[in-house]
Symmetry: D2
Subunit: 99 residues, 4 copies
């Protein structure tokens, strides 16, 4: 089952500068071979359910290993069986209707 | 790694009455032996990361098998390593401060 | 336009004990006369769009005034025009289908 | 109070092709003069709290007027008082740490 995820990881208890922790997550996602796209309030991820969710778990594990005591992440999880759809398809589908 | 999750599953393409689909998810979560609490806009789930996320996957798989063509779920995922905390602890912690 | 909201406020930069801040938000929501129900990962809110969203804004303003440098909240926002539906209706609709 | 929002609007009860509805929301956000950036699972929005939230309300109102019976949106809402931060700042802050 393919999934398109939007992940936003919020480390708690390490002050207000979260960039290094988000960067660590991005590296995990890239190393997992997933298709990703960082935006200003999260990261789009495309892949098969199991490797995607395994990478999300590794983000939590790695941040805790870096000393983050508490994490609150939010995910949007989209699956569909009516047809294949990539992240680019989703954006194109909206942009076409805006013209 | 223990996790407290808040899950909201939104079936798309099956009309506006989503109760039967949410009920199917609740049954999956209960059958998985997870501690859960339904609220008006989602379900709190407490357990170990892998069985919790496995149950979330089964919700998507089961709904698709029921004929739902598209699903968009949202999850909040909370983990912490500084101390143990249950769902009841979280509610009590807030309610004590309100008195 | 009526709305049912699920709000989760995450104060950043004030350590890991967030209970006092969530309690401050609950008091704001109650004082606003909104129907609310605290759960383990957020608060259900029912009301008219404007007063609900005004109260969410006051949560952010009040927490910043309490010294919280950064806040990341998540909201689910449900509206419908096909029929009236309360928070209790939503829960009952699921529970009936589970029997 | 400035806010950076990530908005994902999910129309319910109008089938599985949501592109036209998302496009209608994008036009509302643009017409409101807000800084926005569409991604594969939502839209980043930057602006002052009131006009941003007013535009989110107009998205719901407009979609209902287009015949959408039910909508479930999710928002991430980020505010901070320690310093100014744009959407580009947030992305740059992560990308710098990845090198």
């Amino acid at each position: 089952m393919k999934v398109i995820v939007d992940l936003c990881v919020v480390p708690i208890g390490v002050g207000v500068s979260l960039g290094p922790y988000i960067a660590a997550c991005e590296k995990i996602l890239i190393k997992a071979g997933l298709k990703i796209k960082l935006h200003a309030y999260g990261t789009n991820i495309e892949g098969e359910w199991d490797p995607v969710m395994q990478a999300v778990k590794e983000c939590h594990e790695t941040l805790h290993a870096m000393g983050v005591p508490r994490i609150s992440s939010t995910l949007r999880l989209g699956t569909r069986i009516d047809r294949e759809q990539t992240m680019e398809d989703k954006i194109r589908s909206v942009e076409e209707k805006m013209q």
